[in-house]
């Protein structure tokens, strides 16, 4: 099961956080700080999986942005690693070359995309067109 999904930049600012198990807000800030610290301290040739407490972090870096996913032992690390990339490709498709700013200014939409892909800590949809379908509906409504 996926425990949380984070997007944090190199300065440690959280750009997106989605928890699939309830975590108190003060603990969130601490967790996010610790998570980003442990990712930043790693070099390129270290592996993308970090043991953290009793779960694992799977992370990928895109420019200055880290995407970190916390998983328990029932998830396949490398599948989650590629899930991150699939997510980024979906964002890229929607925002046509996504940047950190897109994510900040369209938080609600990024949330929709993530919710279409991961629900209740499980991967639910991986097909890009289907992931984006509800968003296109939304945009149509907004324009019309």
């Amino acid at each position: 099961m996926i425990k949380f999904f984070l997007m944090v930049n190199k300065q440690g600012q959280t750009r997106l956080s989605r928890y699939y198990e309830h975590v108190e807000i003060n603990k969130r800030a601490m967790l996010e700080a610790e998570v980003i610290r442990s990712c930043l301290s790693r070099s390129k040739d270290e592996c993308s999986f970090v043991e953290y407490k009793d779960f694992k972090l799977v992370y990928r870096q895109y420019a200055a942005l880290f995407i970190v996913v916390g998983i328990d032992q029932t998830e396949n690390e490398i599948a989650v690693y590629e899930l991150i990339h699939n997510f980024v490709e979906v964002l890229d498709k929607y925002f046509s070359r996504v940047s950190e700013l897109d994510i900040m200014f369209n938080l609600d939409r990024v949330h929709i995309i993530l919710d279409e892909m991961v629900l209740n800590g499980c991967i639910v949809e991986t097909n890009r067109n289907r992931i984006l379908a509800p968003l296109f509906v939304l945009d149509k409504v907004a324009e019309g």
Binding site: K3, T14, S17, R18, E21, H22, V23, E24, I25, K27, L31, R42, D45, E46, C47, S48, V50, E51, K53, D54, F55, G70, D72, Q73, T74, N76, I78, A79, Y81, E82, N86, Y94, F95, S96, L101, D102, F105, N106, D108, R109, H111, I112, D115, L119, N120, C122, I123, V124, E125, T126, N127, N129, R130, P134, V137, L138, D139, V141, A142, E143
Partner: protein, 956 residues
């Protein structure tokens, strides 16, 4: 498309976010946020009704502020209002706010439920999707109560849209996790299984997650999923990548779904149906074959997706552990990955191979990679990869390669990262013991461990080496010689001093023949370290010295001089002072024979499993604790405390022989033995695993993700408390002893250690979780009468293993206190009560007296109300020695040569309560022919006579 904000860009929101970005300092940011919060608050409170757009904008801002780590305590109502909007954009933001910010125990749930109900009934798939997402993400019990009936219907209805089905599947999964009792299995289960056949791969993906969870709990119910999953997998694996166009990711067909299907199959043993089994084998072979084919794309995404499926297939092969051919192929594949240039693959390969090593079919194949793994240990730049390499070496170790692996681990230990040193130490210690053919090698290895990483050598490790040396006489001389040599080093670790002190104290005589290690040299060597050591080590060394007095009478005076010095006799530390005083006295007044008896060589320890193993498992956390049985065994040893701690077992536990021998008259024995203490005496601790060896109640630490906190939603009255587990037999067992297992069922084991002195007592209660799941809301409470006061000193929530209860006997009492324990295991609430074996006799102080005194007092207590007599049949064989031990265990002194009939037993003691002291005399007359006993109690208080008589009568 606009660069910054898409769709219905909310300008105010964009401005606010830009402002935050431009803030130069944290303070400025907080200031800007507070300003915005005040603004939103006033807008929400304002008289003017807000339109949907504004509400949406403000809710979005709040969401953003929340993301920055600020708690949001308002706006929830506005978000709930948005739910009933007919505009999709507004409704969507309302649901988003709720699923991010509202936790499952919010008071708003009822209102939210209403909105959800409307949206579910709307038949508008987009609205239904939003509502279902919300349930899946919040998933409170109230939601389960409201929707658990309906969701399965939506899920299996023929006319439900695919996307709604997907959401419904995950939604049901959430409800099942939070409230399994509200999601009863029913007709829908077989329909759900058939979703694996659904045309739409998105639906299959969602359904597989649901089925996997359900199948873990109800394997029988979902058995048919195996063949369906196999055929689905087979269609994916063998398809040309163009068939599943939309679900193909970089030329890999449906990788995530394949992984999930392979996971689902790991809930079951290999399929019994040969056709299904054949098809699955074919799938697995195809996956393994594909790994050898040239890649269809050079992109790393392609190989990652392919490898995700491959690793999951290997997991399934290992799980089935039945096809030698596949296992060996898997091993070879992983072997290739061990040398791959991608660190991720090397890491995963080491991890998988670790499980593969435990299969009998592939163990040998794994062993062939030993050189690669050792090399990884030396060259990997990532500590987590090196850690995996250590794990794998440990897993692949057997008799044939133990020497090599242990040597490599020791080698690595010199430079190992601090974070994993302790674990490596434990592993080396276990392997050295497990595969020791030659115990001199074992001793060398452990001493090396102490030399290289002394700080990381826990007590379990050095206790164990002592146990082994004591139990094996073929290695004792070697051990003594080796520690003696190791101690020559100018700076040696304190742990070495402990081991050295202990071993020389026992076996120093074996090397004393050599003039280079004469008694005096041994003593001087140890004593040269004395002043640099901590108190516990010095205490141990003092015991070594008194043992030397016995082993080497020729240096007795030297040792006495040391004991007599002010730094010992007037030491500020009470333990050291006491030892010095007692040992000095012992060495002065006891004859050689007595010394030889008291200070005899330690008897062999009962064979038992190493506590190091339990420690390692504890360190490794829940995922890797495979053999719970072992831990259980270990723990029961802890608690039984069967080996009584003592310098010499007979010297302390049975008072009578010693006191006479030492000519100390009637002085209570406790003056000679060190006071019972749980951590004062090191020698004592060697026998008992330290409390830290008890596996934690909650596997894993109490971190944020242990499990959702259900405290507030739990229904305490759901299940009435079980009747008190009287377990009379167990309870009575404790009347004459203080340590042992009090209670045990499938989930929980409770062990006790207690000590009493006068009217005070202290009880250590150890809770052992026998399952691999965490107990939630674990709350033990002690309920006792006013006559007895108990206060709980230490009570960590969630993960505690040990609880200390302080007890004071205020006045005499009948009823034992009750320990009530409540906790949540899985989904069910557990409630149990056990009597704590705190009985009146625990507050006995033995009193020695002469025959004349005894009968004089006996006559004084001749009032009929003061005497209680019971005649009963023997329940156990009538053995005089056992009876004596029981009377002493009961707490009274056993008076010899008092009763004119030597077959009778008499005892005397004083019951201490806070208010008074009650003198008690007892007499037990066995009748061997009739297999009966007559027990007479005389005390100054009738109730006390009665209670003691009742308690003691149960013992014989």
């Amino acid at each position: 498309m606009p660069a910054v904000s898409k769709g219905d860009g909310m300008r105010g929101l964009a401005v606010f976010i830009s402002d935050i970005r431009n803030c130069k300092s944290k303070e400025a940011e907080i200031k800007r946020i507070n300003k915005e919060l005040a603004n939103i608050r006033s807008k929400f409170k304002g008289d003017k009704a807000l339109d949907g757009y504004s509400k949406k904008k403000y809710v979005c801002k709040l969401l953003f502020i929340f993301l920055l780590g600020h708690d949001i305590d308002f706006g929830h109502m506005e978000a709930v209002n948005l739910l009933s909007s007919n505009r999709y954009t507004e409704k969507q933001i309302g649901y988003l706010f709720i699923s991010v910010l509202v936790n499952s125990n919010s008071e708003l749930i009822r209102l939210i439920n209403n909105a959800i109900k409307n949206d579910l009934a709307s038949r508008n798939p987009t609205f239904m999707g939003l509502a279902l997402h919300c349930i899946a993400n919040v998933g409170s019990r109230e939601m389960a109560e409201a929707f658990a009936g309906e969701i399965p219907k939506i899920l299996v209805a023929g006319d439900t849209m695919d996307s709604v089905k997907q959401s419904a599947a995950l939604c049901l999964l959430r409800l099942y996790r939070t409230s399994p009792d509200l999601v009863p299995m029913g007709d829908w289960t077989s329909r759900v299984v058939h979703l694996l056949n659904d045309q739409h791969l998105g639906v299959v993906t969602a359904a597989t997650s649901l089925i996997t969870t359900l199948a873990q709990k109800n394997p029988e119910e979902f058995k048919t999923s195996v063949s369906l999953a196999v055929s689905r997998l087979s269609r994916i694996v063998t398809s040309a990548s163009t068939d599943l166009q939309d679900y193909t990711y970089y030329f890999v067909p449906a990788p995530w779904l394949s992984v999930k299907l392979l996971r689902l199959l790991q809930c079951y043993p290999p399929p019994e149906d040969p056709a299904v089994r054949g098809r699955l084998t074919e799938c697995l072979e195809t996956i393994l074959n594909k790994a050898q084919e040239p890649p269809k794309s050079k992109k790393v995404q392609h190989s990652n997706a392919k490898n995700a499926v491959l690793f999951e297939a290997i997991s399934l092969i290992i799980h089935h552990d039945s096809e030698p051919n596949l296992l060996v192929r898997a091993c070879n594949q992983l072997g290739q990955f061990l040398q791959h240039r991608e660190t991720n693959l090397r890491y995963l390969a080491l991890e998988s191979m670790c499980t593969l090593a435990s299969s009998e079919f592939s163990h040998e194949a794994v062993k062939t990679h030993i050189e690669t793994v050792i090399n990884a240990l030396k060259t990997e730049r990532d500590v987590s990869v090196r850690q995996r390499a250590v794990d794998l070496l440990y897993a692949m170790c057997d008799r044939s390669n133990a020497q090599q692996i242990v040597a490599e681990m020791l080698n690595y230990l010199e430079t190992a990262d601090y974070s994993i040193r302790e674990e490596i130490v434990l592993k080396v210690a276990i392997l050295a013991e497990k595969y020791a053919v030659d115990y001199t090698w074992y001793v060398d290895t452990i001493l090396n461990l102490i030399r290289i990483a002394g700080d990381y050598v826990s007590e379990e490790v050095w206790y164990r080496v002592i146990q082994i040396v004591i139990n094996r006489d073929d290695v004792q001389g070697y051990a003594a010689k080796t520690v003696f040599e190791a101690l020559q080093a100018p700076a040696c670790h304190e742990n070495l001093v402990k081991v050295g002190g202990y071993i020389l104290g026992e076996f120093g005589n074996l090397i004393a023949g050599d003039p280079r290690s004469s008694p005096l040299i041994q003593f001087n060597l140890l004593h040269s370290k004395f002043h640099l050591c901590s108190v516990p080590t010095r205490a141990l060394l003092l015991s070594t010295y008194i043992k030397f007095v016995n082993l080497f009478p020729e240096i007795k005076t030297t040792i006495q001089d040391v004991l007599r010095s002010d730094s010992q006799l007037k030491n500020a530390d009470v333990e050291l002072q006491q030892r010095a005083v007692e040992y000095l006295r012992l060495s002065t007044i006891a004859s050689t024979d007595i010394l030889a008896t008291v200070l005899e060589e330690m008897p062999p320890f009962p064979e038992r499993e190493s506590s190091i193993l339990a420690k390692l498992k504890k360190k490794k956390g829940p995922g890797t604790v495979t053999d719970l049985e072992e831990i259980k065994k270990e723990r029961s040893f802890d608690m039984n405390g069967s080996a009584e701690p003592a310098l010499n077992a007979t010297a302390v536990t049975t008072p009578s022989p010693l006191e006479d021998l030492l000519g100390l008259g009637a002085a209570p024995v406790t003056n000679i033995a060190p006071p019972p203490s749980f951590n004062g005496s090191l020698l004592v601790d060697v026998f008992l695993d330290s409390p830290s060896a008890v596996a934690p109640l909650a596997p894993g630490s109490d971190d944020n993700f242990a499990s959702p906190d259900l405290a507030s939603s739990e229904v305490v009255s759901e299940e009435p408390a079980d009747t008190v587990h009287d377990a009379d037999e167990l309870f009575h067992k404790f009347v004459c002893k203080n340590n042992g297992v009090l209670f045990e069922n499938q989930l929980l084991q409770i062990g006790l250690k207690s000590e009493f002195r006068q009217n005070l007592g202290r009880m250590f209660i150890f809770y052992g979780n026998k399952t691999s799941t965490q107990f939630l809301n674990f709350t033990p409470t002690v309920i006792c009468s006013d006559d007895l006061q108990s206060n709980i000193l230490k009570l960590d929530g969630g993960a505690q293993v040990q609880q200390v209860v302080n007890i004071e006997c205020v006045s005499d009492f009948m009823e034992a206190p009750i320990l009530n324990i409540q906790f949540r295991y899985g989904g069910t609430f557990q409630n149990l009560s056990v009597k704590l074996p705190i009985t009146l006799n625990k507050f006995f102080q033995p009193t020695e007296m002469s025959s004349q005194d005894f009968f004089q007092r006996w006559k004084q207590l001749s009032n009929p109300k003061q005497e209680v007599q019971n005649i009963f049949k023997a329940k156990h064989p009538m053995d005089a020695e056992i009876t004596k031990a029981k009377i002493i265990g009961f707490g009274s002194a056993l008076l010899e040569e008092v009763d004119p009939n030597p077959a009778n037993f008499v005892g005397a003691g004083i019951i201490h309560t806070k208010t008074t002291q009650i003198g008690c005399l007892l007499r037990l007359e066995p009748n061997l022919q009739a297999q009966m006993y007559r027990l007479t109690l005389r005390t100054s208080k009738e109730a006390v006579s009665q209670r003691l008589c009742d308690l003691l009568s149960e013992q014989f």
